[in-house]
């Protein structure tokens, strides 16, 4: 057990290191650098920048150094001082910019994850038990459409319907009066009132997928001989259902928790952009478009780290849940 955890931990650190290289290479890929894009902006504003100023800027920002030196100082700063670099666009340390918006992304991601499982598991079990009933077919139909609808399109449709029927914008996460207010109980309640729309948008496809998986898993178990034996033995149907088939069916579902988290994290930016949420989505897109290198790189790293940690957690969960894996290597 301990060996397993240590093994996974080492693997996680190695993956994180690899991801940091990838993130850095990705943000180095665009032709030109921030200085170029800054010069471009100044040019358009009618106040062109001189070549000398441009060179000075490069030296000041360290852009003239080879990429591995830049990478080295980036990573060492991150590991040693928790410093992720400086956002030129925001003129503030990257850590501060991200720290401001990351909580909302996390709240959104984890509430969505919770929503997905809370909705999908009961429906999946119900559909399996009442196979081919009207509600089973109805859930399947809704699920198919949910799987096929791109997140942003669902957001657009909900926003349109909200506008049309309620005459209010469902975008954003706070009402006007709470936009810049400090955290308080009332603000939390306001957030909860707004959060359900992005949660549905972000979670619909994943929920549909989970329902299908859960339904199939429970159905598989229901056809096993041991279920028949238990039924013949006189166990009450409900007790039987939750004690054995559901319990067994949960394993593959929880095993993929990490992937579901990856999926939610992956979809979060686009929902954030479309619904103009004050989370990391618009921040990330903006940073990419403006070649705000360290901010974009840090965001990629944060997104990846979240999914890698999520996979780690789901591995642990699986070990806790499935004795067959737990016992492995001990016998």
């Amino acid at each position: 057990m301990l060996r397993f955890i240590v093994h996974r931990l080492i693997y996680m650190v190695v993956t994180l290191a690899a991801v940091s290289v990838v993130a850095f290479v990705l943000i180095q890929l665009p032709p030109g650098d921030y200085a170029d894009s800054y010069a471009n902006k100044r040019q358009q504003a009618g106040a062109p920048i001189t070549v000398q100023e441009l060179d000075e800027m490069r030296i000041r920002l360290g852009l003239n150094r080879p990429w591995y030196v830049q990478y080295g100082s980036w990573v060492s700063g991150m590991v040693l001082r928790g410093d992720m670099g400086y956002s030129w666009e925001w003129r503030r340390p990257v850590v501060d910019v991200i720290a401001e918006r990351l909580p909302l992304t996390l709240i959104l991601a984890f509430s969505t994850l919770f929503f997905m499982y809370a909705v999908a598991l009961p429906i999946g079990i119900y559909s399996a038990v009442r196979q081919y009933s009207f509600s089973d077919h109805a859930f399947s139909a809704v699920g198919y459409v949910g799987l096929a609808t791109p997140n942003f399109l669902l957001a657009l449709i909900l926003m349109y319907l909200g506008q049309k029927w309620f005459g209010q914008s469902v975008g954003g996460l706070f009402s006007l009066e709470f936009q810049d207010a400090p955290w308080s109980w009332a603000r939390v309640k306001d957030l909860a009132g707004h959060l359900w729309v992005p949660i549905i948008v972000l979670g619909s496809a994943g929920t549909a997928y989970l329902i299908r998986t859960m339904r199939a898993a429970v159905l598989d178990e229901l056809n096993q001989m041991y279920v028949m034996a238990a039924r013949a033995g006189g166990l009450s149907p409900l007790h039987l259902l939750f004690k054995y088939p559901v319990r067994m069916a949960l394993n593959p579902i929880l095993a993929t928790l990490g992937w579901r988290l990856t999926y939610v994290i992956s979809g979060a930016p686009i929902v954030g952009v479309v619904m103009s949420l004050p989370d990391t989505g618009p921040l990330f897109l903006h940073a990419l478009l403006n070649q705000d290198m360290y901010l974009a790189g840090a965001m990629i790293l944060v997104y990846c780290a979240l999914t890698i940690i999520g996979t780690f957690v789901s591995d642990l969960l699986l070990v806790a849940l499935d004795p067959r894996i737990r016992m492995e290597g001990q016998t």
């Binding site: 993956t15 690899a18 991801v19 990838v22 993130a23 990705l26 943000i27 890929l29 665009p30 032709p31 198919y144 459409v145 799987l147 096929a148 609808t149 791109p150 997140n151 942003f152 399109l153 657009l156 449709i157 926003m159 349109y160 506008q163 049309k164 914008s169 975008g171 992937w259 990856t262 999926y263 994290i265 992956s266 979809g267 930016p269 686009i270 952009v273 479309v274 990330f284 897109l285 990419l288 478009l289 974009a296 965001m299 990629i300 997104y303 990846c304 999914t307 890698i308 996979t311």
Partner: protein, 375 residues
Amino acid sequence: MVDAAQSKPRRGGRLRRPELATQWQLMWWKFKRHHLALIGMSVLAMLVFLSVFAGFIGPEAPFNRNNKFISGAPMGIHFFDAEGNFHMRPFVYARTTKRDSVTLRKFSVVDESTRWPLRFFVRGASYKFWGLIETDLHLFGAEGGFIHLFGTDTLGRDLFTRTLYATRVSLSVGAVGVTIAFILGAIIGGIAGYFGGMIDNLIMRLIEFIRSIPTLPLWLALSAALPREWTSFQVYLAITMILALTGWTHLARTVRSKLLALREEDFALAARLSGCSDARVIFRHLLPAFMSYMIVDATIAFPEVLLAETSLSFLGLGLREPVESWGVLLYAAQNIRSIAHMPWLLIPGLVVILAVLAFNFVGDGMRDAADPYSK
């Protein structure tokens, strides 16, 4: 041959003989039992047909601006006129342009007194059929006026025609992307599965690594890296490559696991003992045995590529005008104000849903049919 062993009489008196049928025939029979998959298949066939003949079926040219009908709502086709009289030939009501006396903005009103009858095979805007033959023949059109089934955008361009062209581009991105992913997955998965050991371990770690990176941020970062001055065609190729780059992992896994299982089979050993080369064993003996699973995986990957391309283009980081794809069209519907005034801009999105649904159904049917011997 499990349950299929009994011959079932078919319509027309022909006997279905499972014991004589080829593997692919068995699969087709099984696939046909999946009604949703058949429906999905016909929807896809229709979409492909529409997009192949986009120039002919669309009544306008994609970039023609109709100055008399800017931001116009979809025009309904009628059989009954305002007085309730029936007309054999369907028609649309005429639209006239008025100017708002205060804002001086032009807007169009429905003129129910004038009918524009619809006709087949009318002459309209000229286009090059498949880039070869210059012609101006269109499948249908309104006599004396114009017809915009899906309405027009803020520049007065016909959304119906543009959706047809966009379907062509989006489906082609999907097809090319899936093909590249297919080839990559087959080669890399094949190497991993056939040679095993160290190489296999390395490749599997690589796949795990790629899968742990959230796809959308990765795609966004990659497409943001494309030079701005690239032509739209270069961007098109690059985006397709980017989507294929992360799509191959699933296929590679399938190929690997099937190869690992099959290379231990007697027939593979027999082939090797008879002196077949590695390549011949793989391509002649092993590959046909799991080809069906690869096709299933490719079908399932297709809608993912479609959705990815649409999302990227929608954010403005994917394809760009003058290339038209579903995402490019939806880019116009990005903010709530334009949707509130022109909800028809979302119609291309409905086409996306339709296409992805159809692909999912076909994928489901194929997954069941991939192993025709199971119940």
